[in-house]
Amino acid sequence: MQDDVILNISDLHKSFGAVRALRGVNFELRRGEIHALAGENGAGKSTLMNIIDGILQPDSGTICWNGTPVSIASPTEAQKLGIGLVHQEIALCPDVSVAENIFMSATNISRRLLMDYRALEDRARSILGQLADIDSAMLVRDLPISHQQLVEIAKALTLDCKVLILDEPTAALTEREAQILFSIMRRLADQGISIIYISHRMVEIFDNCDRVTVFRDGQYITTQTVADIAPSDVVNAMVGRVVDTLYPDKMRPQDCASDRTPPILDVRNLSEAQRFRDISFQLKRGEVLGLAGLIGAGRSEIVKGICQLEGDVSGDISLNGTPLSIRTYGDSIRAGMVYLSEDRKGDGVFLDMSIAENISALDLGLVGNRVGTIDAARETDLAETLAAKLNIKYGRLSDPVSSLSGGNQQKVAIAKMLSVDPKLIFLDEPTRGVDVGAKAEIHRILRDLARSGVGIVVISSELPELIGVCDRVLVVREGQISGEVSGEDMTEENIMHLASVLDAADAQLQSA
């Protein structure tokens, strides 16, 4: 049996600063098996895959390849061993042909002076032929996302690999394309190639994989033969953890408004052509509401739609009982609804501008006087007040935001939201990339705001955070609200059940 093991990883550790991404994980891959790796976002799956592919180096632990310890220093070395990784994000050159993309690394090491495009296209055609009907002379840019994903897989197949890693490959594929991919996976496995298959979807794991390994919080939990366990066991293993008490208190009875006061936010039948449909929910006064769901389920899109940041939405929105008719995000800010973006550096703050200038960006009227000039003293006052309120650590207010730590940058972004005295704040991943101390502070700030009557809606991919911070959580799945949990029912199991298509999986497994 031992001879069968192509890759054996034991006691692997990896830290990024204070974050311990992997804490002694084990992983065993046999020749010719399809091995699923399951875990929540942040469980350490991608870190391990990047280590196997030589992109990252472990802090400690051993990797054995065919029984011999190896250190994989770079993706090129991983390639030499026979490891191919298909990333979740598509990393192709959009402006060159499919064939050139597939043979990018071959071309890179080729010693020939001229490109033989015809031969390249022919070879690409024979590899693609088994995958899908894709013209190898087409530009990648002109392909739909699902075909781009297949090109990525074809690219990995050309490397003559013995281990193929697929990181959520079906996220962008249609059902039919996914089925084709699974049959190819099975064929490759029969040829002796081992496949590591990363997915959230239980039905895929249980229909197509031989074994499953579960990680949680950077730790190895278990490895089981799929035939021996049920999908719900895997989900339990993924999330089975007691929520710790780092979080602030929940809503108190006195925080609730009387039944007659209208809810802060009342959304009815909100729909958008592409990304979500028929969304209805309410946010009560004093409550912190969570939005859970897998990445891409439509959580951010829904709140951006409410704020008119993007998308052409239809439906009715009332704020504190008043129906809103807003057309731009500027209107939304004036109405008192603001959105804290999930990508702080990309679109949350102005990195090279000063702290004070960042905080006043939402409404310059606050720091301007009647003739439209900026009153520097008022701008400083506003920034000082909010910086003190949020406990922002800074040198001078004229320092650029780039000089602050991630947590303090995020607080500047929150201060910007608070500058306009909002009635309602949507926070998208408010603690992503924030250290533990600042995280707890931000959670406390959210609770304080809710108590003072500001509506708080939190989107987070971290289930413990949602459960710890929120009074009620709505779960979004494929553009629809698939359920709501609160109080005792607010458990990771329940949320994961609602977020993934597990029910369908169960039904299918039972009928089979």
Partner: protein, 330 residues
């Protein structure tokens, strides 16, 4: 070993002070300009005479108005290559209308309006069609130049009959100071103040610094970019009219290569091609520096052909120093 430890702190302190000084770009530029002027005053007795100083200021004053527009556009994240030909087109349109018997003041207003329209046209292609400033303004640069040649048949239009009141804009003086310089100073001071202090122009910085973050702060970034594009062309129109009054003619080939001078001045003065930073004061100092260098080279009898080489080298040096300092700061 110990020696180096002892020596290290004062050395780094000295470096820090120097770097700090260099980092304040306006100070650095003023120092360089002063040094050049002092050096030149020894090299040529003519350099620091009133006549030469006036000539130097006149040389960049009108172009300086275009520098103001370009700087604001660069801060918003855009760029405009068409400034030279749009300035020439302003002269040509106004001159042609004047020759058709239209009052020169009315002709000038129509011409400035036309240039503003050209800016709006570019702004439309950038913000609505979604093309890059570089390409749109490159196309308009060629189109506007072509229009100039079409209007004039490629020959300068002599405007000898321009009324004296009109020529006064370009040729007159209040006391010893030419009116051109006064107009220039008013434009510079007004826009410098507005850019530093008004809420409207603050939005230009937000947009150029991070367009998406600006949009996520409720700022209508497309409107901002549309307006800065339009403003730059409008100021080209103003500059064209002043040139016409000054020369008493409309020259279809005027302003060739002006875009390089103008962009160089703004960039030497601290404007970033990535948007988000720059000052009017700095950009004008950049223009002053380029003008002082040109004048110095002329007085030293350096071939005109060398001048372009030196100007280009100054630009490269200024931007390299800036890039280096920025990298160190990160």
């Amino acid at each position: 070993m110990e020696k180096s430890i002892n020596l290290a702190p004062p050395a780094t302190q000295g470096m820090g002070a120097l770097k700090k000084l260099l980092r304040m770009r306006e100070t650095g530029l003023i120092l360089i300009i002063l040094a050049l002027c002092i050096g030149m005053s020894f090299a040529s007795p003519y350099f620091l005479t009133w006549v030469n100083i006036r000539a130097m200021v006149m040389a960049f004053a009108v172009e300086g108005i275009v520098v103001v527009g370009m700087t604001i556009l660069l801060i918003s994240g855009g760029i405009d290559l068409s400034v030279g030909s749009v300035t020439a087109l302003a002269m040509v349109i106004a001159g042609w209308l004047f020759l058709q018997g239209i009052d020169p003041w009315v002709a000038s207003l129509i011409s400035i309006a036309a240039c503003t329209g050209i800016g709006a046209f570019m702004g439309f292609f950038v913000t609505r069609v979604g093309l890059h400033h570089f390409i749109v303004s490159l196309a308009v640069m060629v189109i506007a130049r072509g229009a100039c040649l079409l209007f004039t048949g490629g020959r300068p239009i002599g405007l000898f009959t321009l009324p004296a009141e009109f020529k006064f804009i370009g040729q007159g003086a209040i006391g010893p100071i030419p009116l051109v310089i006064i107009i220039f100073l008013i434009v510079v001071l007004a826009f410098d103040f507005m850019l530093r202090r008004t809420t409207a122009f603050r939005k230009v910085f937000y947009t150029g610094s991070n367009e998406k973050a600006a949009a996520y702060s409720g700022i209508r970034t497309k409107k901002v970019i549309f307006l800065t594009t339009t403003l730059c062309s409008a100021l080209c129109g103003v500059a064209g009219i002043i040139y016409m009054a000054r020369f008493g003619s409309a020259q279809p080939t005027f302003g060739l290569g002006m875009e390089l001078n103008v962009i160089a001045a703004a960039v030497i003065g601290g404007a970033s091609l990535n948007g988000g930073s720059g000052t009017i004061f700095g950009a004008i100092l950049g223009a002053v520096l380029l003008s002082v260098v040109s004048s110095s080279l002329a007085l030293l009898d350096v071939s005109v052909y060398w001048q372009d080489i030196i100007r280009g080298s100054i630009l490269l040096a200024a931007v390299s120093i800036d890039h280096y300092l920025n990298k160190r700061r990160r």
